[in-house]
């Protein structure tokens, strides 16, 4: 599908004419122009262009798809998984699943449906391709929550599920050698994310794994029950929106700022039913954890999946964690994209998403008068090792104490150990934990999803009053972290740490540079 109509949206630029006005360096954007662009954006969605980009740099050709009809990365992954040589967006295909993940909240329901539909004595399609990761409601006295972990243990025993990251001693997470924590971080750390594969999970943030150049998306219990029995799923091939992020990443900017920027651009439904493909020199400079943060919030734009082309960084991470063979694929030079966005990252500034929507974007510095009550650093989005390193780096540079309760919830056991063991660069050998203690933060808590989604009433750091919280998590709809009138500002770890030090929403440049 060659490009034809060029829409009048300012976000779309052809690669040849790089007029700086069209590049998305937003420092000069005011709120009113942002609103008018949103309106323009909404109207022009149906007329989105298909643009043909300049040929890709040296990449090995995809293993499927004829050269004449180019396919995007996602199309190639799905085609191969469906054992077809070619697919186009809109095709409904049966796809082989490489990995199915579930956790304590949706696992019981998924297995319940599996047994109901395939029979009490049914066996799963492949006990080595299912990963069961309790992580949502773990450190709680809620009996049903505890029961759900027990239910998963029974299923895993019965089915001989190889990967069950169990927890039995709720009083001391370290006493559980198998327990990991947050599923999306654990999947990566345990080597279950591999380029070119199809990974499904009973959780919307399964799209995180797209950072590894695979197709990864969230599904419900019924679909999961179906996959448990068959190892297949019916999927509609999504069209791909391409986001090219070029330029040098400023020292005060993080991947969280990038994705909040993009979601603010296209809205919470801007990528519905579509793939978000991220590439460009900035992407290539990002670590795996930063790429995971980027892909993690694709679902907040409505996206079906996110993908980043695998490169040396990816292979280095993956090959250190798994010996399962894999084969990456890449978008063809003549693939068709349903939209093209370009960002000059060097011009971007730290942003937040104000209550109550992930697309309610504002510059952090423009929110400096917003008084806050607490800060939360954690979750699959912002609770990884590098997220805590970043926060510690800022606290150390500032040399001050936090002015509001600051809650730290490492995503996994590994992250928790890193927080206590790894030296923070530039701090003279101090660990994150030491720096956090000196800054007056709460002691890092047991690893789990924690208060990102509220949870049972006794969840650590749950928002139980109508307070204002700056959080490194992924959603801020009403009631997300507990109280319906709670006000959640989504932010990067740098911005969260800076805000903790002032008691107001704060641009991290106040303390960095």
């Amino acid at each position: 599908m060659a490009s034809s109509v060029i829409s009048s949206s300012p976000f779309v630029c052809k690669s040849s004419s790089s007029s700086s006005k069209k590049d998305l360096g937003f420092s000069s954007f005011t709120k009113s122009s942002q609103i008018s662009i949103h309106r323009c954006q909404k109207k022009s969605i149906s007329r989105k262009i298909v643009s043909v980009m300049a040929p890709q740099k040296d990449r090995s050709p995809g293993t499927t798809g004829s050269v004449k009809t180019g396919m995007t990365m996602t199309e190639k992954i799905l085609a191969r998984a469906a054992e077809k040589s070619l697919v186009v967006p809109g095709d409904n295909i049966w796809v082989n699943v490489d990995v199915l993940m579930t956790h304590d909240v949706c696992g019981p329901g998924a297995f319940g449906i599996f047994k109901r539909e395939f029979g009490e004595k049914a066996k799963v399609w492949d006990p080595e391709k299912i990963v069961v990761i309790p992580d949502h409601y773990i450190f709680t006295a809620d009996k049903r929550a505890n029961r759900n972990v027990d239910i998963m243990r029974e299923h895993c025993k019965e089915q001989n599920i190889k990967y069950f990251y169990d927890i039995t001693d709720l009083g001391n997470f370290k006493a559980n050698p198998d327990y990991k924590g947050v599923c999306h971080v654990a999947l990566a750390q345990e080597g279950h994310c591999r380029p070119g594969e199809v990974l499904l999970g009973t959780d919307s943030h399964t799209c995180t794994a797209g950072a590894f150049g695979q197709f990864a998306t969230g599904i419900g219990n019924t679909d999961a029950g179906f996959v448990l029995g068959t190892g297949k799923i019916l999927l509609k091939v999504p069209p791909t929106m391409r986001f090219i992020l070029d330029g040098e990443m400023p020292s005060y900017l993080q991947a969280k700022d990038l994705i909040l920027q993009i979601i603010g651009e296209i809205s919470v439904a801007g990528a519905t039913y579509k793939t978000m493909e991220f590439s460009g020199t900035c992407i290539e400079s990002l670590s795996m954890e930063e790429r995971m943060t980027l892909c993690n919030m694709v679902v907040e734009a409505g996206g079906k999946n996110g993908v980043i082309p695998p490169d040396a960084t990816t292979l280095n991470y993956v090959e250190n964690r798994t010996s399962v063979p894999f084969e990456p694929v890449y978008s063809d030079g003549n693939a068709s994209f349903v939209a093209d966005y370009r960002f000059d990252v060097s011009k971007l500034e730290p942003v937040v998403a104000k209550p109550h929507s992930p697309d309610n974007r504002a510059l952090a510095r423009e929110c400096k008068d917003v008084k806050i009550d607490r800060v939360y650093i954690g979750s699959c989005t912002g609770g990884k090792t590098e997220d805590f390193m970043a926060a510690a780096k800022l606290f150390h540079a500032a040399g001050k104490k936090v002015k509001v309760p600051t809650f730290l919830v490492p995503a996994t056991q590994k992250v928790w150990m890193d927080v206590y063991a790894l030296p923070v660069p530039g701090s003279g050998g101090k660990t994150c934990a030491q720096i956090f203690e000196e800054a007056g933060c709460d002691t890092p808590a047991s690893p789990s999803c924690g208060a990102c989604l509220g949870g049972p009433a006794d969840t650590y750091a749950r928002l139980n009053e109508p307070q204002v919280c700056v959080s490194t998590t992924n959603r801020n709809f009403p009631g997300r972290m507990g109280h319906k009138e709670g006000q959640i500002y989504l932010a990067s770890p740098y911005t969260a740490a800076a805000s903790a030090l002032t008691g107001h929403v704060t641009d991290p440049r106040e303390f960095l540079q």
């Binding site: 019981p108 809620d142 049903r144 319906k484």
Partner: protein, 252 residues
Amino acid sequence: MAASLQSVNPTLSRNLSSPNNSSSFVPFRSPFLRFNSTSVAPDFKPLVSFRNASSSFVTRSAAEPQERKTFHGLCYVVGDNIDTDQIIPAEFLTLVPSNPDEYEKLGSHALVGLPAAYKERFVQPGEMKTKYSIIIGGENFGCGSSREHAPVCLGAAGAKAVVAQSYARIFFRNSVATGEIYPLDSEVRVCDECKTGDVATIELREGDSILINHTTGKEYKLKAIGDAGPVIDAGGIFAYARKAGMIPSAAP
């Protein structure tokens, strides 16, 4: 007794409640459920289930013919971006939808996460069911989590259909897969023209379905269900897969 009635008339499955036994995740124990254990087939396990094709006690769409459908009742009107946390707050996700008691409890909490500005609640405090059959929404209904508890709680509460301007994809997919609630697209912003408490009828027809608001007298065209049609018509993903020969059909 219950099981044999179910095989004679699939519509009875909705009214039958299973005994509350200790294995909380298996609601029905039909004598017709048998598992034919064989060695692994090349593509998928040849699991044979002798249940009838209209699967579970919870799916309503499977029990009725799909060609001509009518929903009638009161409307409950909400705005844009009603996310899954508002539909069913996370603290209730410990309830397992495939467990009959917990399924009912989920229904009682449907839309309890809506802010206080929604003075008229979807389920009255103390009640288990809603008096509203039709939910009218704006853009991006059901955004947020992939939790299937969202369409399940709406169906468990007694709602039959949602008419929204647009849906988030996982919610739409889960609605179709479970058959719990019928997701329909309007062509205009119906949520601006209807009020909670309006009496309405939805008529699903080949090609042009309509929503009739009897209180205002206005009619609205609804978009065809599209690719999801065959899955909904079959009665959900399992029935569809059986029809497509993807998994073995139920034995006669």
